[in-house]
């Protein structure tokens, strides 16, 4: 198993570097420019679009929260779903998964190794962004009037991991469940977009309020308070449990499916039960 995880991580090396450096854009630019735009930002808070998106920019903590806990998680989640749908459905479509499942590895190990590799890749990417955020903040700290510390920012970035883990595992499940990568990615993107916009829609529309618990982004607090005090542990736990549930479903469906057939589960043939010895056929035609 560790061999497989290591190999899966090696496959993701370039993506980790690329996405990690790309996401560092957020702290470098947005924390970096804060001292020069702080006054203007405070006045933007009244704009309807910012209010609709739940963004409050009147303090450094709120500003950092709006960037590192709103946009950055969205982009990191995009990586999570692209990677997770590509790793199974993509490999299945181009035939590489057939080579993998004909190795002496149980199917659950293949899925779990991929899940761990995706989770570690996300953690490495976020740790890189967190480290860069810490450095940028350290360089500008004396120009910013705030009670937020570098460690607060570092931990805030890492707190995005449970959300991206949940999205990655949902992507993995959809890759197993759906007949093609395209469909899996489409469905995962829909879950992401709805999960992202849902909390604000639910906050502004009474009829949608009961649906709020189903929107994943509602479990990530983007306020300045969350930057200073961290996320609520219960929310983090919900996200991790959602991810684990999706992973369990992925394992369940992958263990029971045929490869390279490209159909929905309900179109797949009813499978004969495995047996330890060769038995007469169940159906005689």
């Amino acid at each position: 198993m560790p061999r497989l995880i290591w190999q899966e991580l090696k496959f993701r090396r370039n993506a980790i570097i690329g996405w990690g450096l790309g996401l560092c854009f957020f702290p470098i630019v947005y924390i970096g420019i804060y001292p020069s735009v702080a006054d203007q930002m405070a006045s933007l808070t009244d704009l309807a679009i910012y209010q609709y998106m739940g963004m409050n920019l009147n303090t450094f903590g709120n500003w950092v929260g709006s960037i590192l806990l709103v946009f950055m998680p969205l982009i990191a989640s995009v990586y999570a779903i692209i990677n997770s749908t590509g790793t199974l459905a993509g490999e299945e479509e181009d035939g590489r998964l057939e080579m993998m499942v004909t190795l002496p590895l149980p199917r659950w190990q293949i899925i779990v190794a991929k899940a761990i590799a995706i989770s570690l890749a996300l953690l490495i990417i976020l740790a890189l962004v967190a480290g860069v955020s810490l450095l940028v903040f350290g360089a500008l700290q004396n120009q910013v009037e705030t009670d937020v510390t570098g460690i607060n920012i570092f931990m805030a970035v890492l707190s995005v991991w449970p959300l991206t883990f949940a999205m990655g595992m949902i992507g993995l499940f959809l890759a197993v469940f759906a007949p093609s990568r395209r469909v899996a990615l489409m469905l995962a993107a829909a879950v992401l977009i709805i999960g992202y916009l849902g909390p604000n829609l639910a906050a502004s529309t009474t009829a949608l309020e009961p649906l709020e618990p189903f929107f994943l982004f509602s479990y990530l607090d983007s306020s300045g308070q969350a930057i200073r005090e961290g996320q609520w542990a219960g929310d983090m736990l919900v996200l991790i449990l959602a991810g684990l549930a999706a992973l369990a479903l992925a394992i369940f469906f992958f263990a029971r499916r045929n490869l390279t057939v490209g159909v929905w589960p309900w179109q797949r043939p009813k499978v004969a039960r495995p047996h330890s010895a060769v038995q007469p056929p169940l159906i005689k035609e």
Binding site: Q7, L103, P104, T260, P269
Partner: protein, 302 residues
């Protein structure tokens, strides 16, 4: 341990309503090279995928080394080398890294680094990236990957596809060495002389059903005799109008017949017409295969 390396019983796969294979009963013994023949879509690849648990049977069982392909797939796959017909590789990897990974994941089975020797035999430059390889070189990578842990059973689907004739010869030599070593080969190919050259027995699959399983020599001996007979006076067509006998060519002096049955009666009839010469033609596996598939008559000879 059972001498049966592969055993399928009533193996059936349906893709929804579409037939994959139907009621396939097959046995491959230890140390034999078994040729698996059939046109595209007949069910060859489906059978191989069920054996390796890539897809699951709708009904029936498949076992390798007495191990159920579904329930004990991990144990049995340790002993199997597989070359799929549609080979897909990790394009961004270098060939040597790919083999190291493959050895790492499947276990070397006492043959650590054997891939280097195999790559050398196939003249494969392992320092190159897979993405830059021609189809033939990619096929070499697949061949090495299948052979590299000295498996007890090799399942090869069109192993020489895309290879030049010299490399094809090398691959066939490698297959013969595996067989000589007492290991087993399950060999699927469209190149019938290749199958005839290495296999002891063949199974012929048509529209998902196994229609014949027989030793190649027996198959050739039993199925068909092709005779060209030269006469001073050519006899009338009705002379050889016997069950299982068909006239395929006629000149002023000679008649060519395909004889499935009644050979003694054919020879007796020829003798009555003062036959001067009888030439027998070697029947190839290709002739047998085409005979099974009926040359357009629906192929109901089985």
């Amino acid at each position: 341990m059972s001498d049966k390396v592969i055993e399928t019983t009533g193996l059936t796969v349906y893709y929804g309503k579409q037939r994959g294979i139907k009621d396939v009963n097959l046995t491959v013994e230890q140390g034999e090279a078994f040729g698996f023949l059939g046109p595209n879509g007949a069910g060859k690849t489906t059978t191989q995928r069920v054996l390796l648990d890539v897809i699951r049977p709708t009904a029936g069982r498949a076992a390798i080394f007495g191990l159920d392909s579904q329930a004990q797939g991990v144990q049995l796959r340790r002993r199997v080398g597989y070359l799929p017909g549609e080979l897909a590789l990790y394009k961004d990897m270098r060939i040597d890294r790919f083999f190291e990974m493959y050895e790492f994941l499947r276990g070397a089975n006492g043959a650590k680094g054997y891939w280097r020797e195999l790559a050398g035999r196939l003249d494969l430059d392992v320092g190159r990236k897979i993405a830059k390889l021609s189809r033939g070189n990619k096929q070499k990578v697949g061949v090495v990957a299948a052979f590299m842990n000295r498996p007890d059973l090799l399942i090869l689907d069109e192993p020489t596809g895309g290879l030049d004739p010299l490399v094809q010869q090398t691959v066939m030599e490698m297959v013969r060495e595996v067989k000589a070593d007492g290991r087993t080969v399950f060999f699927s190919s469209h190149i019938l002389p290749e199958v005839q050259a290495v296999c002891d027995r063949v199974g012929i699959i048509r529209q998902g059903e196994l229609i014949a399983t027989q030793g190649i020599e027996e198959l050739i001996a039993a199925r068909l005799n092709r005779l060209t007979m030269v006469f001073d006076d050519i006899p009338p067509a009705a002379t050889f109008d016997l069950p299982g006998v068909s006239e395929t060519a006629r000149t002023e002096r000679s008649i060519t017949l395909e004889v499935r049955e009644n050979l003694p009666q054919v020879l007796a009839a020829a003798a009555r017409h003062n036959v001067r010469d009888i030439e027998t033609h070697n029947v190839s596996l290709e002739d047998i295969f085409l005979d099974f598939y009926g040359k357009g008559d629906g192929g109901n000879h089985a």
